[in-house]
Subunit: 232 residues, 2 copies
Amino acid sequence: MLLSGGLDSTTAAAWAKAEGHDLVAVSFDYGQRHKKELTRAKQVAKALGLRSHHVLKVPLGQLGSSALTDKAIAVPRAPRSEKIGQRIPSTYVPARNTVFLSLALAVAEVEGATALVIGANALDYSGYPDCRPEFLQAFETMANLATKAGIEGQGVQVLAPLLRLSKRDIVLLGNRLQAPLGLTWSCYRGGAHPCGTCESCVLRAKGFAEAGVPDPALRPAPKTKRAARAGP
Amino acid sequence: MLLSGGLDSTTAAAWAKAEGHDLVAVSFDYGQRHKKELTRAKQVAKALGLRSHHVLKVPLGQLGSSALTDKAIAVPRAPRSEKIGQRIPSTYVPARNTVFLSLALAVAEVEGATALVIGANALDYSGYPDCRPEFLQAFETMANLATKAGIEGQGVQVLAPLLRLSKRDIVLLGNRLQAPLGLTWSCYRGGAHPCGTCESCVLRAKGFAEAGVPDPALRPAPKTKRAARAGP
């Protein structure tokens, strides 16, 4: 399964685990703006007790042309909520999910896995073409023609359990499954704290607000603070 | 275009150039058994005067499970000629063309290219699933759903000019187009000279023999040898 360390992939991982899958996580060091999500992905994989976790280096960053891989392009502020997803923003990374799923397909074939799990969502999302159901369906068709496992073996399914859920429903599902949402990182900027203004922060905040659940990743680490306050 | 430095991709490149395409070559350092083909790819790109040449690092080697990426697995001798392509051999690299085409798709989108060119051949070949027409067709369909260029722009075509040619016809085409076949490297083993016994060497030799053309990559560097023999 693809694990970015964000809200969606962490919830998708918790879902797949609850469904009884034995999970191998794959994360990508692709030249993204910050490595915070990779640290979080490792913590999430550990918290969920996944079987193994590959971190693969991929040369998307050197191609540039995205605000997420080229520091010369600023991360944009989110537009008004109802405008999100109507145009493909500058945070789009060319062919990113295609490249990620292709490498996950290679891992799956080597590991003997029969499914690729991805936290893609096509409802409360940024309009990236490679998060849409028609893309994922076409990828699955292609994958089963591409590999020895597809021709001679059981083949591979693409599972996208969040595809048609709202961000609210993703938060509720993650909460119900006790996914370690407090460990997740969504902010595109990668500062000390989530910026609250990029599209990823705004979509996440909307989800938690509509679910009526506080975002556990935003709470200050309570014990340390309290201990400090309670000190002499 | 995907350029491995072998006979097929070099002929496909010469074809695409003759068709008037402005070509960006992409080669992959994927943990293959030897780097000889990458050196040859660079020479071929230069000889053909291609616009640019990306060499991208891809972590397929660390997954192992192929004789081409895992030195613990021996490169097999080719079976009898008529048996070649009937079973997928141990030189199969899981999801290789899917990963290569996906990264080429990212390059294409960044460069504004409207086609991916691949030297895949499904006639005199090793039976790799990701060289077959149905795979390439499915990849093209997927690619046009995956990218901003597919949704908002001109989209991308997958061109595989050698797909239905025999190895003989590939040699004849390469010769006619004056492709730099003398620079190409096909042998899986990567020794000082082609081994002549691996499947790739056997298929290549069959092609040149049936075309009635000497393989320019096999000719000994004539001047040095003759000079040596002519010496006192």
